[in-house]
């Protein structure tokens, strides 16, 4: 709070960067966690909330006739252009936001103050929702070849790995320890994924400290153990995600890549995904394209091309497709590249910030475009996660590794995101999902035309650009209506014996009355009334529906309750 000198500024304009509509005029508030703008000019009260942690940059622009402009860029690609009447107010807001958006101490992060009024037990349950052991179990681990080891319980092997990970049974403690000294930051090869169909494994690790000629016997034994964990396969792939040139340059710094001569039966492959600096500047260029004022089609396409963003997305996807193919073809992979979430929560080196996670999320989205029925979640789920990676509202994405998260006492002091998302499962699900048995491996097309610009992400807050009617909402509505109707139907069927039975006087009951209905007689009109809203809520969601949006959440909410009631019953 000490950062806020002016908590409220009146007569602030908010410019819309596309529509030439009249700028909104209203009041700007600064709270400990959010910047809140209340539009006073709109007929309906309209609020814009910006989480301080989401702010990636604040700029003061040159004075205009309207006042002092303040341009705010957010990590979720929201861009807000305010114009403030007084220079002093503008400067106060500016300096406050600079401090609030990049706290120095981790304890200042939102997650440590966020209080959703949840019981301690539930909070703890939330952290246990995702159990890595269960995940391994799903892959059939432990088995004859792989085991879960707690060798890292004191973070002696690697400070950035979790206390437990999966290694080949054949790898002794000495091999693991020895290998860790030969790997950058001790990130030894560990299992990431086992393809149960054929026991092919995907492992990951950091680059070896090979320099020009260094060797490490234990590391060689480690890779051998991984290869031999699948006796059916004569060799394994070692895939380096960097461009070869970058890997070679790293040799001079005593790092580099595995020498094929020193490792038995490995095949080396470079995939050529550019480093974080290239990615960061590519995203920057893309966002500049997205922000252009009334660009021509050609401006946009040229900008899209020059940003290189889709080229990088394609490279990442190609890598994924290659790995999947190799896995299916029963081969072995170990991957070497440092991978940490670089999101820049705290005031630190801006050069270390990278959009790797954004790219991952986008690749999933691109897959969803090609396979609309194969994912249980919708685009909204991806955006939600992407938001929270940067929001610092939940503990999941804080710190760089398990060790740091323990030191920050994140599991005790903050909440986990997953139960919150789970609670909203109904609105985040993909109504077209056909279950995981419907498809096996996806075989995405990675020809350039298969990749689309993701307007929903990079121009997400420019609503005018998006389809004006939302198919997702409509289908979710259908789905929940179906559930309600099925409830009604089964309820009515349950009542049939009653109607035929000795007490016909009870009449028809409202569908929501549940079990109690049998005892409480209600006049038949109630039933008809109860049915009307459901029927009128049919597919007639026209253009106007969006204006009457309050009606919809209510319907969804109601049906959700029904469903829950059904589950409990």
């Amino acid at each position: 709070m000490e950062h806020i000198s002016t908590p409220k500024v009146e007569n602030v304009k908010l410019l819309d960067r596309y529509a030439n509509r009249k700028a909104a005029s209203g009041t700007l508030y600064l709270t400990a966690t959010h910047l809140i703008y209340v539009d006073a000019s709109a007929e309906v009260r309209k609020e814009t909330w910006i989480l301080h942690h989401h702010i990636s940059s604040v700029e003061k622009l040159p004075l205009t006739t309207a006042g002092y402009p303040l341009l705010i860029h957010c990590k979720n690609f929201h861009v807000a252009h305010f114009v403030i009447g007084q220079e002093r107010d503008c400067h106060d807001v500016f300096t406050s936001l600079l401090k609030l958006s990049q706290p120095v101490k981790p304890e200042e992060l939102y997650a440590f103050s966020y209080n959703p009024k949840m019981s301690k037990e539930n909070r703890e349950m939330g952290w246990k929702l995702i159990d890595l052991r269960l995940d391994y179990q799903r892959m059939g681990i432990p088995n004859d070849s792989w085991e879960i080891t707690d060798i890292n319980k004191d973070y002696e092997v690697c400070s950035t790995y979790p206390p437990e990970f999966v290694v080949p049974r054949a790898a002794t403690k000495a091999v693991v320890m020895g290998s860790s000294r030969f790997r950058s930051r001790g990130r030894i090869p560990v299992l990431s994924y086992l393809y149960k169909e054929n026991n092919a494994a995907l492992c990951r690790c950091s680059q070896p400290l090979a320099g020009f000629s260094a060797r490490c016997l234990e590391d060689e034994q480690m890779l051998q153990a991984i290869r031999e964990a699948n006796p059916g396969c004569p060799f394994m792939y070692v895939v380096d995600t960097r461009p070869k040139l970058n890997a070679m340059a790293n040799r001079a710094a005593g790092k580099g890549y595995e020498n094929e001569d020193n490792y038995e039966n490995i095949r080396f492959k470079f995939i050529g995904i550019e480093n974080i600096h290239v990615m960061r500047s590519s995203l920057q260029k893309l966002l500049e394209v997205c922000e252009m004022k009334s660009p021509s089609m050609s401006d946009f396409l040229t900008g899209l091309e020059n940003s290189g963003w889709l080229r990088h997305i394609k490279a990442v996807m190609d890598a994924g497709v290659f790995l999947a193919k190799v896995l299916i073809e029963k081969e072995w992979i170990a991957m070497g590249h440092k991978f940490s979430h670089r999101c820049g929560h705290l005031d630190g080196d801006p050069k270390e910030v990278s959009p790797v996670f954004t790219q991952f999320v986008e690749c999933v989205w691109q897959l969803m475009q090609q396979f609309p029925c194969s994912f249980e979640f919708s685009e909204r789920f991806l955006l939600e996660i992407h938001d929270h990676v940067y929001s610092c509202q939940f503990g999941n994405f804080l710190g760089t590794c398990h060790k740091e998260r323990e030191e920050l006492r994140i599991f005790e002091k903050t909440h986990s995101l997953w139960p919150f998302l789970l609670q909203r499962k109904q609105e985040l699900r993909n109504p077209l999902y056909r279950g995981f048995t419907a498809y096996k491996e996806l075989q995405p097309n990675t020809l350039p035309f298969s990749f689309q610009f993701w307007c929903g992400m990079y121009n997400r807050f420019d609503k005018g650009m998006h389809p004006k009617q939302c198919v997702l909402d409509q289908l979710l509505g259908c789905l929940s209506q179906k559930v309600t109707l099925e409830d009604n139907a089964s309820h009515l069927e349950n009542k049939l014996p009653i109607l035929d039975g000795p007490l016909p006087s009870e009449g028809c009951t409202s569908p929501k009355a549940g079990a109690a209905a049998a005892k409480a007689p209600t006049p038949p009109q109630d039933c008809a009334e109860g049915a009307t809203p459901v029927l009128s809520n049919g597919p007639s969601l026209g253009h106007q529906k969006h204006k009457e949006s309050p009606a919809q959440p209510r319907d969804l909410g109601a049906s959700r309750e029904d469903e829950q009631a059904q589950h409990q019953g």
């Binding site: 091309e305 609309p372 029925c373 650009m465 998006h466 389809p467 179906k482 597919p539």
Partner: protein, 533 residues
């Protein structure tokens, strides 16, 4: 194979249904496809004992046939060559195609100008249906009945027609019932370099506007191009002669440049060796999406003048048969909810494209593989369909039809078993007896099992104006058309039928549930009251 290629073969499938797909296509190519093979329809390579024929179809599919036996191959190639260049309209497939269950006259008189006028006359009395063009004498590319201002007599119209290129005098295209404004279209005035005037033409445009009222002329050429047209006898309406009309220029590409744009895009789409950067560069270089954006923007401008500025609008370019129709048809789709139903959309096509005299035969002859051969070739109609697709993407509940219909229309405009898109105007259709001797596409589409395929399960009537976004981020490549034969579509088709299942299942179950409830409700009160007594 050869016998199947013979036009007189009796084994020709009716209704375009034949199980072996490859066979069917070759057959169609040879038979009714003067259409379906493009400008450079085939490229025959003969090596050893077998030959390869590459067929570039008008629906953008490319087929390669490996044919054993050199002589066989050359025979087939020769037949295809001959059959794909039938010149006479009356030798074309629609004149022979007789689908079972349909009568010849069916569908031809579903959208007469009279019916359109009937609706109009219930809303206003300022317009009348004129038969001045009864024998196509005033304007050979207009239908026999057109709508003109009620205050203007046929003789004035006849004289005004002489002042407009091709006789295309200003006629009503759409009446906006909300505020009584109207959309008109015409061709360019024949002003010429000596700035000729025509009192009758000035009178037509003058009587439309009340005193002090302003109208807009949207010229689909650049100001410079319009000026240059004076050298060849054309031109624009000068301010001095039409004081109440304000002219706006919005240059829309047509003719050769548009055709080249189409060709370049199709080439880029079929080149799998492109890197991401090259692909984006060629997508941009084709300029197709720029044309889509420009067409939608201009249509929005016209719609805005009508709906927001309460002004009457006249649209024309040069001939008034291409970009003019593109703009007037799109503007109506944006403004008028009745054009967005399946039936209404067919009516719009009939009125604003077919009867309005878009020269389909000249424009849609060779499709993407026309390399400069057909000087008149231009995918204006395809550009329109693409714009409609963009609207359907931005307003997924507002059009009663889906992508499938747009694809079918594209196919049929270029190569059809039906007579609907034959010839260049009503006069030619009348001379060739198209309506008497061929089947109408609309009749075919009207059959329940066909119709079902084209309906949008998410449709719900939307009475509002649908203003699309024309930002580049909102405009997408129409993959369903341009990558139709290139990208795998199985998963997308599944998604579409899943949507269908979900929505229709929902409607049915809601009906089901109502039925159940209704069938159960009656005994209740009866039983209740019975017991009470």
């Amino acid at each position: 194979m050869s016998p199947l290629l013979c036009p007189s073969s009796s084994s020709l499938p009716s209704g375009g249904h034949c199980p072996p797909l490859l066979l069917l296509r070759v057959q169609n190519l040879g038979w009714y496809q003067p259409p379906r093979t493009g400008g450079s329809p085939r490229d025959t390579r003969v090596s050893g004992s077998s030959g390869t024929i590459t067929l570039r179809c008008k629906d953008l599919r490319v087929l390669q046939l490996e044919i054993p036996g050199m002589e066989q191959c050359l025979n087939i190639a020769g037949s295809i060559e001959a059959l794909s260049s039938v010149d006479s309209v009356m030798m074309m497939y629609p004149f022979f195609h007789r689908p079972p269950g349909l009568r010849l006259e069916q569908g031809w008189h579903r959208f007469p100008p009279e019916r359109f006028f009937q609706r109009l006359s219930s809303q206003t009395s300022q317009w009348r249906l004129s038969t001045v063009n009864r024998d196509f004498s005033a304007c050979p590319s207009y239908p026999e009945a057109v709508i003109v201002p009620a205050a203007v007599g046929d003789d004035t119209v006849t004289k005004a027609a002489r002042f407009r290129q091709g006789g295309r005098f200003p006629v009503l295209s759409y009446f906006h019932p909300k505020n009584g404004t109207a959309l008109l279209r015409s061709s360019q005035p024949l002003t010429g370099h000596n700035r000729r005037r025509c009192p009758e033409d000035e009178k037509i445009l003058g009587t439309i506007l009340d005193e002090g009222e302003r109208g807009f002329i949207i010229d689909t050429r650049s100001a410079q191009a319009a000026k240059q047209a004076r050298m060849s006898g054309g031109g624009t309406e000068p301010k001095s002669a039409y004081p109440q009309w304000r002219r706006i220029h919005r240059a829309l590409e047509r003719g050769r440049p548009l055709q080249e744009s189409f060709t370049r895009l199709v080439e880029a789409c079929s080149d799998p060796s492109l890197s991401m950067d090259r692909w984006l560069a060629r997508l941009d270089g084709s300029r197709w999406l720029s044309h889509v954006k420009a067409a939608l923007s201009t249509a929005c401008l016209a719609a805005q003048c009508l709906d927001r500025e309460d002004c009457k609008v006249l649209v024309h370019g040069a001939e008034g048969t291409d970009t003019t129709l593109l703009v007037t048809a799109l503007a109506q789709l944006i403004l008028d909810p009745s054009c967005r139903s399946l039936q209404g959309f067919q009516g719009l096509l009939e009125r604003e494209w077919i009867q309005a005299g878009h020269p389909f035969q000249l424009r849609c002859a060779r499709s993407a593989s026309s390399h400069g051969r057909g000087k008149q070739e231009a995918p204006i109609f395809l550009l329109f369909l693409d714009c409609v697709w963009q609207l359907s993407r931005q307003f997924p509940f507002s059009l009663e039809f889906g992508e499938e219909l747009l694809l079918t229309l594209f196919d049929n405009a270029y190569a059809s078993a039906y007579g609907t898109f034959l010839c260049n105007n009503e006069k030619e259709r009348s001379l060739c007896k198209v309506k008497e001797s061929t089947h109408s596409l609309w009749a075919w589409l009207e059959q329940p099992e066909e119709k079902h395929k084209y309906l949008n399960p998410l449709y719900s009537h939307n009475p509002l104006v649908i203003w699309p976004s024309v930002e580049p981020q909102s405009i997408q490549l129409w993959q369903g058309l341009f990558l139709r034969w290139i990208r795998p579509s199985q998963h997308l088709d599944e998604a579409w039928s899943e949507i269908q299942r979900l929505v229709e299942g929902n409607n049915n179950s809601s009906k089901e549930s109502t039925r159940k409830r209704l069938s159960q409700t009656p005994p209740d009160p009866a039983a209740g009251t019975g017991n009470g007594r």
